[in-house]
């Protein structure tokens, strides 16, 4: 394991915060609203207060990746969002790898180049905002890892050996510094799933990209994305995976929405539901199903819920 660039969770969070600013994700809200809700429910159980703000907009990553705007302009979007958080004197917690990556990257640019920060501040000053650069940017999953023991203590619905496979997402692992684990061979999600009572499955294509960013929404899906995802799901199926977790709604879209197309094209059934790791923690914490929003999933969780003995009409649903 790459120890030099890995940060211990206790170093990343010397103290567990009482309140956090939860940064909404466009993809998360539109595609899988259950993720944000699951985070709120789990944080409530762990005693951490969540603050949000309706004025917070898209992280600006989409503007950049679609080359719709110059980075100088999306810097102002980032500065404005982070200025909103700074007013509340909180640190920023993302639950999307895209939001995490772009905010970190752009905040870093503004930190290293004061003239860029000034440029962004000049733009947002017209709306009465000012960004200093003091809010720290974290990923919610990092807090889950920091609170692994507390999470273990709150499990009321153990996963009973459910075979869970992890998908980390490139945009978290590709961060060069200050991430929780070795980007080349991470294992911290497996540890979290372990304390929930799941059996973690190391399938061969574990670290293969979700396919979302290489063109799910754009062109050449048939030549690029589907053969790639077929490889990934084939290896997960061979390893006997029953459920896959992500920590990014974009990955969830790539892995969940495309499965019926794979089945149609390759005439092979996978039926591997994909949910956010926060939703899985919520499930193990006994959060009612209605609050976890699995209805949004293309590949249904029926088989998983049946195995765990959770069904409609159970106390779970109240």
């Amino acid at each position: 394991m790459n120890k030099e660039r890995v940060v211990a969770p206790e170093k990343l969070f010397p103290e567990v915060p009482e309140s956090i600013f939860l940064f909404r994700s466009c993809t998360g809200s539109m595609e899988y609203p259950g993720t944000e809700n699951a985070i709120k429910e789990v944080m409530k159980i762990l005693g951490i207060n969540i603050v949000m703000d309706p004025d917070q907009t898209c992280c600006s990553g989409y503007l950049l990746t679609c080359s719709a705007y110059k980075p100088e302009l999306s810097l102002a979007v980032t500065a404005r969002n982070l200025a909103i958080v700074e007013k509340k004197n909180l640190d920023t917690y993302m639950f999307c790898n895209g939001c995490y990556g772009y905010n970190r990257e752009l905040a870093h640019i503004m930190h290293e180049h004061p003239d860029y920060k000034q440029m962004a501040n000049d733009v947002i000053a017209k709306q009465g905002y000012h960004y200093e650069g003091k809010t720290e940017i974290h990923h919610v999953q990092e807090l889950w890892y920091r609170l692994k023991d507390q999470i273990a203590a709150k499990v009321v619905q153990p996963l009973n050996g459910l075979r869970v496979a992890v998908h980390y997402g490139c945009h978290y692992l590709a961060q060069q510094y200050n991430i929780l684990d070795d980007g080349g061979y991470p294992t911290f999600h497996e540890e979290i799933i372990g304390v929930l009572g799941g059996t973690t499955v190391f399938y061969k294509e574990r670290q293969m990209c979700c396919g979302y960013s290489v063109g799910r929404g754009f062109t050449h899906k048939e030549t690029t994305v589907q053969p790639h995802l077929y490889k990934k799901f084939k290896s997960a199926k061979e390893a006997g995976v029953e459920l896959m977790t992500t920590c990014c709604p974009g990955c969830n879209v790539g892995l969940d929405r495309e499965q019926p197309n794979l089945t149609e094209r390759y005439e092979e059934e996978f039926n591997i539901p994909v949910i956010d790791i926060s939703q899985l923690i919520g499930l193990a914490f006994g959060v009612p199903l209605a609050k976890l929003g699995f209805e949004a999933n293309t590949v249904k969780l029926d088989r998983v819920l049946e195995k765990l003995g959770i069904g409609k009409g159970d106390s779970h649903d109240h």
Binding site: M1, N2, K3, E4, R5, Q176, D182, G183, G184, Y185, P186, K204, E205, Q207
Partner: protein, 349 residues
């Protein structure tokens, strides 16, 4: 000409460079303490099965040097010994040595040659290559031990296919080693060639960015490995090593063909960056020597083997070096020490 033969030198490290330095200083008639932390002389060369570019067994070279050292009464070999501390006293150094069993000894010397050698970067910084995760992912020194075992017959399980990765760490700014480690192109060619020679049924692949064979007979050596030993050179950096059917799957790009490729192998050998030993920096501080940003010893201007006042250096503690170069540097550092001692002797008259 009169010389003062009461001068004494300290050589730290009994690898090829240190041994050569001690031998030359001793042969000139000056006393030498040759201090080595390991129990035997030879350093990294001890671990090598074969040297390049002449396919020689370095054991013969080492045995020759060890015999000569043992026959040179001016040299006192102190294996299993480390330098605890050193302080300057006029033109001399007073050095505290720690031997096995916590025994200590104090010596006074008039010049020092640092020859502390090198080690390999911890290859586990590349999680994607699985060093430390999969048992058959080795670094190149560990593979050298396998070559010895296959050659002697003490190990019978042999791989059907071996992949060698070059530039693991070296030339990677993100890992903090922007430099070329210089020796890996040659020793990887050697190891791949030996694999084919010892295990003719085994396939050998070398994944490379480019190969740098600048040295006498070097280019011919690499070409011979490709052309007569049929080692397959693939230009492209591997992306990942994955477990597959009890073997290892190497996923890479063949940049000459412009296609992604997958090769199933049984063993992966990582040519990790050559880095200075950690103790080199501490020793340099004790003796007032200079180190560079990586911890290699740094020379003073215009003198390629001097690193401080009365402090010289030789071998891979200055930068990665092949066996012949280490010997040359050891002899050069010795020449500096002998010249210094001779001159001091003349001035004293």
């Amino acid at each position: 000409m009169t010389t003062d033969l009461n001068k004494r030198a300290l050589v730290v490290g009994a690898g090829l460079a240190g041994m050569e330095g001690a031998l030359k200083i001793g042969s000139a008639g000056y006393e030498v303490y040759l201090v080595e932390k390991e129990d035997t002389m030879g350093g990294v060369t001890n671990k090598l099965y074969c040297s390049f570019p002449r396919w020689e067994n370095p054991r013969q070279l080492l045995d020759d040097r060890i015999t000569q050292i043992n026959n040179t009464e001016e040299i006192r070999v102190m294996t299993g010994t480390v330098i605890k501390s050193a302080r300057r006293d006029g033109d001399r150094f007073v050095v505290d040595l720690q031997k096995a069993g916590n025994q200590t000894e104090q010596v006074a010397v008039d010049a020092v040659v640092l020859a502390t050698g090198f080690e390999l970067m911890d290859a586990s910084v590349y999680g994607e290559y699985g060093y430390g995760i999969y048992p058959n992912v080795l670094n190149s020194l560990e593979f050298e031990a396998r070559l010895k075992e296959w050659s002697s017959g003490s190990r019978v399980d042999t791989p059907k296919s071996v992949a060698f990765f070059k530039c693991v760490g070296s030339r990677d700014r993100s890992k903090g080693y922007p430099y070329c480690s210089k020796i890996c192109c040659m020793y990887t060619a050697k190891q791949a060639g030996l694999t084919r020679e010892l295990l003719p049924e085994t396939k050998a692949y070398v994944f490379y960015m480019d190969y740098r064979a600048a040295g006498k007979e070097y280019e011919e050596f690499v070409r011979s490995v490709i052309e007569t030993k049929h080692v397959r050179y693939v230009r492209g950096r591997p992306a990942k090593v994955l477990p597959e059917n009890g073997r290892l799957l190497v996923r890479a790009e063949d940049t000459l063909m412009g296609v992604p490729i997958e090769v199933e192998v049984d063993m992966v050998v990582l040519a990790s960056a050559a880095v200075p030993r950690k103790e080199t920096k501490a020793l340099a501080e004790m003796f007032g020597a200079k180190t560079d940003q990586y911890g290699f010893l740094e020379n003073e201007s215009f003198n390629p083997c001097q690193t401080g006042d009365r402090v010289f250096f030789a071998g891979a503690c200055g930068f990665a070096i092949e066996t012949a170069g280490a010997q040359t540097q050891g002899a050069a550092a010795a020449a500096e020490v002998v010249a210094l001692f001779n001159r001091a002797g003349q001035e004293a008259c």
